[in-house]
Amino acid sequence: MEKKLERILPKVQKPARYTGGEYGEIQKDRTAVDLRMALCFPDVYEIGMSNTGMRILYRVLNDMPGVWCERVFAPWFDMAKEMRENHIPLYALESGDPLTAFDAIGFSLGYEMAYTTVLEMLSLAGIPLHSRERESLTPLVFAGGSVCCNPEPMADYFDLMIVGEGEAVDREVLELLRTAKQENWSKADFLRRAAGIGGVYVPSLYEPEYDENGLFRAVHPRDGAPAAVTKRIVEDFENSCFPADAIVPNTEIVHDRVGLELFRGCIRGCRFCQAGHIYRPVRSRSVEKLLEHGKEALAFSGYQEITLLSLSTSDYRGLNGLCDGLMDYCEPRGIGLSLPSLRADNFSMDIMQRVQKVRKSGLTFAPEAGTQRLRDVINKNVTEEELLRSCATAFRGGWNGVKLYFMLGLPTETDEDVIGIAELADRVVHCWRENAANKARGLRVTVSTSCFVPKPHTPFQWEPQVERSEYLRRVTLLREHMKARAVTYNWHEADTSYTEAVLSRGDRRIGALIHAIWRRGGYLESWSEGFDLSRWTESAAELGLSLDDYAVRERALTEALPWDHINMGVQKRHFLREYEQAHRGCLSPDCRAACLGCGAAAFLKEGRCDNG
């Protein structure tokens, strides 16, 4: 390891996150590869190493002959400061080489608040931030991940962005880059050809246009770039890459366990949920395949815990068989099986009871809204009766803790809906009194609220976000109505939800804002240590931008949206229909009850979703 680094490591917190050398790390001979890729995650090691997408891409890209893919994470504040002071450029963990030694620098972007971190990472590496400032072909700086469904806010910085599932597209981009390197193409040539790969968006080939009032009007493609970029997906999810031999970190990370991805997509269609829409169509893996994956990964990693990952685990058809099969393997080995939050129905409770015989973690439910009326508006198909029935089962089975998650500021929300949250919490307390097996241990109900953030590619993409003062008024109202001693109420800060709302529906002009915030020190903004709203307001003032215009302005249904040219599968007409259903207070059936023809099925060869 470099001497300079050895000297600063004793001075920083958790040095093990900066060293690499973990079990399962892939080392290759620099001279034996012809393409070096830095897979970057704009957050700290413990978060990035927990990310399923990172684990998959690391395996997929390293499986390419001649390619060495290494990992790069954002250093914590203390380390970033030491690196700057000691002139240590941002480096990759495997080789310790600086980012400038790489041909391709790819960021995995899962949340908007990481944008300033991307800029700081490039800056720490000594790489020009704007795509136009980087004239040579390499290093190519690109991004993938869910936030690319609205690529505009970061369009100035990335040479290209990948829409949809990276494991389907990254390989093709790297192959093209290899050819470009061998044949000495210019960067412009490369980008023009890359724009022809399905799922690739080259922002510099699209010119945004605004009307006389400053409203976004359209983007205009040039040089033969496609008018719309359609996402790519892994069609054969059953046989797609599962990295059973993923790296096992030397130090504790957030998700320090084996994770099994049961399916991609979601049949539910909650109207606020972006993930539930952009990952459609639903594709699942068979129980046999998942058992094979689970056993393989446990044997390789030595982990003592395994969990199930998916948007709505209870909807997995083979859940019973899968849990039984996993329990058969795990129990005699002392391995714990943990389940993510399940739906509040009897079937799920049954599984919870069986699986959590040994370890009783808390129950988690996400009703999202306090009244049936509002749950119908958001299409959250769970009734109070179901929820209370599930709680009763759990209390009888000895559980004594429940966490309930809600959103405040949902479209059409009234004070009655807000107070409804407190009433629901009271009813859970009452239910415990009637059903608890052992009252001596007491009850803990935790109610958490966050502020609704309208997201692109959802039926609520036109909705306004409530103003921060209004959110806080509703928080106060709710707090006043929380009376039971057993109930604890936590609420999220409104500031980060507000800035998230600005970024998620931002257009290309937001790029300059991100830059200005970064210049004022914005970095690792999803951590309270890195976030300061005043950087945002000052930057917006400097640029003459209105943050409210992005966050709290209601869009007209006829307005052009900055992400209209990105096709994530579900069509705008579906969102419009669902928007109208919402305002009528009507539920829509889930994909299994009836296909609504959202458009996602077109991504499958047979044109049928896993909805039967």
Binding site: M1, Y18, T19, G21, Y23, T251, E252, G302, G334
Partner: protein, 218 residues
């Protein structure tokens, strides 16, 4: 067969792991290589592994020891290679045996330090250090009970300073039980008592463990 003593080295990139990290890693390595490790009884069962003299972050060791309990016979001769295959870079199991000495019998630790000087002359620095440590040296150290003075020289035997190219090699035998003396305290002692001889960087490597009577500990 029940208790097994493992001897391993922890060097290179693996030295930045914390004690807890190392515990977790040893347990996972056992799982990976299928060593039938015993678990504690009770609500939250944990693997029965204990590390004799925990390593501080940033220090290398060629003489780490851990005791494990197993449920069934294992081939001791094959165990080191088998476990090493399941370890991250930098941890190598070098020996495994039964009937090990009691953990309480460990008293002395031989270690070697590397004090780097970017500009100062190592020859002169070695001299200054020798002079300093020829009399009792007190250092302020932080313990769980707060800061306090500690006469480090009372718990160090055989302390030598050898000038090398760009650094001074420090060889010391320090107490590693009642009290535990982290060799980094020697570096701190120079910084506090003779700032002009303070190295620009200093790191230690553990070499061997001894009993109170000076015989090698096994």
């Amino acid at each position: 067969m029940d208790k097994i003593r493992l001897v391993y080295s922890q060097t290179g990139r693996a030295v930045w792991m914390s004690h807890l990290d190392t515990m977790r890693t040893l347990q996972r390595a056992m799982n990976r290589s299928g060593v039938p490790i015993k678990y504690s009884e009770g609500f939250n069962p944990h693997a029965l592994i204990s590390i004799l003299v925990p390593l501080s972050v940033g220090t290398e060791s060629l003489c780490q020891m851990a005791d494990i309990r197993v449920r069934e016979e294992v081939d001791l001769a094959a165990l080191p290679a088998r476990l090493t295959a399941g370890m991250p870079e930098g941890i190598v199991v070098t020996d495994a045996y039964e009937d090990a000495g009691k953990p309480a019998e460990v008293k002395w630790l031989a270690c070697e330090g590397r004090w780097e000087y970017d500009t100062a002359d190592p020859l002169r620095m070695a001299e200054l250090c020798r002079e300093l440590f020829s009399a009792p040296v007190v250092v302020t150290r932080r313990t769980k009970r707060g800061e306090g003075p500690f006469t480090v020289t009372e718990h160090v035997r055989e302390l030598t300073f050898t000038p090398e190219e760009g650094f001074v090699r420090v060889n010391a035998v320090v107490s590693c039980a009642e009290p535990v003396v982290n060799p980094d305290l020697l570096t701190a002692a120079v910084g506090q008592n003779l700032p002009e001889a303070a190295p620009d960087a200093g790191r230690f490597r553990r070499l061997a463990l001894y009993r109170a009577d000076g015989t090698p500990y096994r």
